[in-house]
Amino acid sequence: MSRSFDTVRCAVLGALCFIGSVACGPDYDRLELTGQKGSPLGGTVNAQMISIPEGMIVKVHVVPWNDDDEPMRGGARSLDTSILDVWPVVSDRDFAFVANKVGRTSVEFQANGRTVLTVHAEVTPQPEQPAF
């Protein structure tokens, strides 16, 4: 009886330690989108919205931070790549937002593989006679 009680007590203690360690670990805090390199026709990528003219690319430096002020592994993916795609860039933590065709979709930003932010995205038509 006391032996099985000890087993249960150890299991509960172990579970509490595990939960404690997870709960006390650094967690996602914020997302930084910096170093935007726009297209000749402009374009916007920020945490509120993404808007890029059709056929254009906008490059952005994407860094999620945890609450210990350490950078996390970042990522971004489009829910409709036929409208707007997201490509990795050869430079570290840079992503290219590629406006394939006019339309609307959403982009999910990730921190350590977990979606932390979803942003509405639109690809707009180019002006009739775009200045270049």
Partner: protein, 244 residues
């Protein structure tokens, strides 16, 4: 000297000559030169070429200009030169070029077996990616629908206004090599451009097609005629006068 050493040296010399030959043919322009479009990310640049029309000769790798704009419907080729491989003579078949692809973005240019095709007017983006699919760099070029045809001397195709030929005054027996170039808002436009040539009076002056879009206009007898060039839903008449 041992015979095998001589053979080795000959092999080395021939290999070196081959490398120089290849490199010479593919010598890259230096960064900032006119036929080199620096990528937006600063990781390299793009070279423009199109070789199915003499119109493109001006924009070939040995020429001087990356085009400001390309005619819709035209075919062309692009080549990416990574930053560290600029200048001098480099082997474009070397390892740093393996696996790099250039893809079109959006509906304005497409890619097929003939290379790139300018599909619709707009600002088109082309992107160089490595074998892993990561973006190395990208550039843009304007695609326009030509609004006129210009006649230009075949040996002096350039974007300067002076190279355009508004009319011909020829002596009997004289012949000139000419090409048709697409125009947009009075500016010459790059890209292969197929046209049909005809002379209203072949007895005065006749046109003979040569290769790569060049035609020879030959003055046969004194008189006046009109040279007509038609293509891409455009037409141009050029007056020709032949004197003794």
């Amino acid at each position: 000297m041992h015979p095998s050493t001589i053979v080795d040296r000959r092999r080395a010399a021939s290999s070196l000559a081959f490398v120089i030959l290849i490199a010479g043919c593919n010598g890259n322009p230096t960064e900032g030169s006119a036929n080199y479009r620096t990528g937006e990310l600063g990781n390299g640049g793009f070279l423009f070429a199109c070789d199915d029309s003499v119109t493109c000769d001006h924009y070939s790798n040995s020429a001087t200009t990356f085009p400001h704009q390309i005619a819709s419907g035209a075919n062309f080729r692009l080549r990416f030169v990574p930053t560290n491989d600029q200048g001098g003579s480099v082997d474009l078949d070397g390892p740093s070029y393996q696996g790099i692809t250039i893809d079109p973005v959006g509906p304005f240019i497409g890619k097929g077996t003939m290379g790139f095709a300018a599909l619709a007017p707009g600002i088109a983006t082309f992107a160089a990616k490595n074998a892993k699919g990561s973006l190395i760099d990208y550039g843009t070029v304007r695609i326009v629908k030509p609004d006129a045809i210009a006649v230009v001397g075949a040996t002096s195709v350039s974007e300067s206004e002076s190279s355009r030929i508004p009319r011909f005054n020829l002596h009997v027996g004289e012949a000139v090599d000419i090409v048709a170039v697409a125009e947009y808002e009075d500016e010459l436009v790059a890209g292969a451009f197929n046209v049909a040539w005809s002379s209203r009076d072949d007895d005065v002056a006749a046109v003979d097609r040569r290769s790569r879009g060049v035609v020879t206009l030959s003055a046969k007898a004194p008189g006046k005629t009109v040279l007509t060039i038609e293509g891409s839903a455009l037409s141009r008449d050029v007056d020709v006068e032949v004197i003794r």
